[in-house]
Each structure stands twice: as structure tokens, then as C-alpha cells.
Amino acid sequence: MTVPTGRGTLAAPASTGEALARLHRWLVAGAAVGVLAFLCLPVLIVIPMSFSNSNSLRFPPEGFSMRWYVQVFTDERWLLAMRTSLLLAALSSTLALVLGSFAAYGITRGRFPGKQLLQSNFISPLIIPSVVIAVALYFALAKVGLLGSFAGLLLGHTLLGVPYVVLIMGVAIRSFDIRIEQVAFTLGASWFTMFRRVLVPNLLPSTAAAWIFAFVTSFDEVVITTFVAGTHETVPKRMFNDLVLQVNPSITAIATLLIAVSVGLMALAAGLVQRGRRRLGTPPVN
């Protein structure tokens, strides 16, 4: 809002008003950089700590070692938890992707009443606190004898992935030119052929992004898992239970692995969303 004075030419401010404005700008910049540091600090501290050679959680670490990673990867329980986490995330995100993509297509292109209500219902697991969903699922699963079963756990994780798929695929389908679909129909394609040979190849980046969002959501989930998993153990569930009891440095290695998985996959998803938008032209205003 100040008149640019030209860099490094006139150091003296033109007026006290401008000096005050400059002071305000520096104060805001200082506060903002401080807040950014506050946001990034925890993640930036955990990574070097996981390579520490000591038993304590001292920062900075005294020396480098891979001992905590070795400890994690030789622990049968952690390995089993990793297998459960990956299987659960892969299955629940795939289920959410298939169910959610068809539903997103139906809501976007179909003509029937109550579409808005359905959309809100599908997105609501994102807004309702997961502890409420966890309590409700606990009672319902207990009633049908599925509490502590893998199927019950899979249901919970799928529910959490659905909103992301419905939102991302909804945007992608809405911005896809409906005339291309109509051409396929005119050429004699059935709906399913059109879906498989026209829609899916064109929406591949968004589909992959939606799947990744659902995968990461499941992979990081703690609350529902803690309530309904019974004896099944996922990586975050064990990490949470260990943390409540005592802090063990091998947790730092697990934390670093979780950071790598989430940040790597989410960056990939963000890139795919960008690519999908570019491929489909201008993004719709949402």
C-alpha cells in the first residue's frame, strides 16, 4: 500500500506515516515467519531424532545410527502391524474409490430428486467427529458380533475414505465434457463401455489422487481403529498405545516412516490433481 521507493535508493522514509507502515510490515513478517516455524518445527525435529544413537530423546542427537530402524524392522509385532496397515489401507481405499466414483457419477450426471441430500450424507464422515463415528460403529458392530473383526475395521476405514473420493471425483466428472460421453453413446457404446474406455482413461489423474487420499486417510487412522479393531493392530494404533504408556525412541523411527509415506503420497496426489485440471481445462469454481 506504500509507494515503492525503489530498492536501496532512498533509505529515509518520506513521512512518519510511511515509517510506521514499514514497521507494521516488519512486525507482520516477523510474526508470520515465527508461526511458520511453529508449524514446521515438530516434523523437522522428528526426522533427525530418528537417526540418533542414544537412548534418550535429546535434541540435537549426539551421533548418527540406524539402530531404531533396525529395531523396528526386526520386531515381529511392528512388521505384522505394517502388513495390517497396508492391507487395510489398500482394501478400504479401493472399496471407497469404486463405490465413491460410481456414486459421484450418478450424482453429477443423473436426474433424480434428493441428490444434494445424498451428497451431504456421503461427505458427512468428514465433518462428524471420528470419535462419534467410532462410538456408533462400536455399538452397531457389537450388536452383530463383528466387533474386533477385520470386516468391521474395513467398514470404518472405507467410510472415512468415501468423502474424499466423492468430492474429488465429483469435481473431475463435472469438469469433463459431457459431449464426449454423448459421442460414445451415439457410436453405440453401452454405459459401462463408455465408463471403462472413455471416462476412466481421461480421469485417471483424479482417480489416482482420490485413491491416494483415501489410502493415506486409512493409513494414518487412529480413533476408529482404537475403538473397533479388537486385537488387530495397525501401525498408528500401536504407536498410539505405546505413546500413552511410555515414550520409546523407536517410535521416532516409526514416526519418520509415517511422515515419508504421507508426505510422499500426498505430494504425488497434489501433483496428479494439478495434472488432471490441466488436462481437463479450467477448473470449475467450487
Binding site: 508461526v35 525435529i45 436426474r111 462428524i128 462419534v132 452397531a140 451415439t186 487412529v222 475403538f227
Partner: protein, 279 residues
């Protein structure tokens, strides 16, 4: 086109049906059963569970505590998030991208990991206490963890991006020419900010604060880890009532209250964000 679409009869509803069936049985029905449990007693319909919550001091204290922590968190997020969003808006684009990445990347990391990290940073042998001791500013470590302070710090850290990102997007939409017009008319930067920019950004700020408040109400992981059992919030009480001393009716009732409050606040949030779109 008409011929084609009639022949294909866009299978709209049938595509939604599988997900609807799964959600109705696996999500809506459990929620309805939970609501039912909260109002059913030994002799049919009753509100005794709701009365109980408000009569037993222990439950009331946890509810009150949760609201207080949510309020503190929301206020702190406003105070920290507003300058950050404001500063982001005026950065040159390359720096803006970098700074945005610094907001978004922690946002991608799971809540559990970010909460755990604070144990490393704020513990008695953690970075902060060791630095403060090293400078001789304090004689004994400050207890950041396993109290309300730790819970609030951890929660703010997790939820701040929920306020900053939408607020930043809303600030980008504010027309810069309005500010220049104010300046032309003789307003100082200070006046232009408080009379024009701030009121225009207020709906997004309020929406962000409500979102942070809602999300804090249901927080489970952070109070469990950084509170060390000494800062019980509603979600932790639910864990206790369901998993440890089974009292399912009371758990359903408290869960119902949490759901109700969340939905009411979310409607407020939607009002604020949609009005902003129209303006």
C-alpha cells in the same frame, strides 16, 4: 443427443445405490441406533441420561473443559493465523509457493506424528527446555507436557492450517483496488486495513475459527498423549465410558450431544462460507 441419452437412460440412481446401501447400513443406521440408545431407558423413552450429564459434576467438568480448550485454541489460531495469511498474500509468487508448502506439508503429516513430535520438542530433556536451561533463563525445566498447556500447543499446531488456508484463499479474492481507492481518499494504511480489508476478511476468519472450534471438540489423540490423562476432553471420556467402564447409555448420550453441537456449529460455518461466495 436426445436419442442417445434416451437409449442409454443414464443409470443415475443405480450408480449411487451401492454406496448408499453401504452408508445406510454401516454409517447412518449405527448413528441412529446410538441416538436411540441415548433416549431409551428401562421404561421406554426418557431424557434421564441427558439430565445425568448435567447433574454429575465430573461429566459437567469435562464438557466445560472441552469447550474452554476449544475456545482457547480457536482464539489462538485466529491470532497466529491472521498475520500469517496476511503476510502470505503479499509475498512474491515464488516465496509464496515456498511458504504455502511450509503450511501444507505439516498438514499432510498425521495428527499422531505431529503430536508425538511435541514430546520430543517440549519434554524435560527436549529442545526448548535444554535451550532455556542453556541460556540460564530458567533453573529447572518448564512443564510443558502432560498439562493443559501442552494440549493447547499441540492442538493449535495441528489445526492452524484449517484456518490459514481458507483465510488466505479468501484474502486473495479481496479487490486490491478498494485499498488503493481508500488511500486516494486520504485514508492511512492503518485506517484502510481496519475499515476495509479486515471487515472483508472477517467472514472467512469467523468461518475458520468455527471450524477449528468444531474440530477441537472432537479431539482425541492430542489430549490423550500430551495431556497424559490429566486433561480429559469429551472424546477421551467417551473412550473411558465405552472401552473401560462400560456405560453405553451414557456414552451414547454424550456422543449425541457432541454430534448435535458439531452439526449446529457446522451449519453456522456453512452460512458464513456461502454468504462470502455470494458477495
Amino acid at each position: 443427443m436426445n436419442v442417445a441419452s434416451r437409449r442409454q437412460a443414464a443409470p443415475g440412481f443405480w450408480l449411487v445405490a451401492p454406496l448408499l446401501a453401504v452408508m445406510a447400513l454401516g454409517f447412518n443406521l449405527p448413528l441412529v441406533l446410538m441416538l436411540g440408545k441415548s433416549v431409551v431407558g428401562e421404561s421406554g423413552f426418557t431424557l434421564q441420561h441427558f439430565v445425568e450429564i448435567f447433574q454429575v459434576p465430573a461429566y459437567l467438568k469435562v464438557l466445560f473443559n472441552t469447550f474452554r480448550i476449544a475456545l482457547i485454541t480457536a482464539v489462538c489460531c485466529v491470532l497466529l493465523g491472521y498475520p500469517l495469511a496476511y503476510w502470505l498474500r503479499r509475498l512474491p509468487s515464488r516465496w509464496q509457493l515456498l511458504a504455502l508448502a511450509a503450511v501444507v506439508i505439516p498438514f499432510w503429516v498425521s495428527i499422531l506424528v505431529r503430536t508425538y513430535a511435541w514430546i520430543v520438542v517440549l519434554g524435560n530433556a527436549g529442545m526448548v527446555n535444554r535451550s532455556l536451561l542453556g541460556f540460564g533463563w530458567i533453573d529447572s525445566p518448564i512443564a510443558f507436557l502432560y498439562n493443559e498447556l501442552g494440549v493447547v500447543i499441540g492442538t493449535i499446531n495441528v489445526l492452524l492450517p484449517f484456518l490459514v488456508l481458507p483465510l488466505f484463499a479468501a484474502m486473495l479474492k479481496i479487490d486490491e483496488r478498494l485499498l488503493r481507492a481508500a488511500e486516494t481518499l486520504g485514508a492511512s494504511n492503518w485506517t484502510a486495513f481496519w475499515r476495509i480489508f479486515f471487515p472483508l476478511s472477517l467472514p472467512a476468519l469467523a468461518a475458520g475459527a468455527i471450524l477449528v472450534f468444531i474440530l477441537t471438540l472432537g479431539f482425541f489423540i492430542t489430549p490423550a498423549i500430551l495431556g497424559g490423562g490429566r486433561v480429559p476432553m469429551v472424546a477421551n471420556m467417551l473412550d473411558l465410558l465405552v472401552n473401560h467402564l462400560p456405560n453405553w447409555e451414557l456414552a451414547s448420550t454424550i456422543s449425541t450431544v457432541l454430534l448435535g453441537v458439531t452439526l449446529v456449529l457446522f451449519v453456522m460455518y456453512l452460512r458464513l462460507t456461502t454468504r462470502k461466495e455470494e458477495a
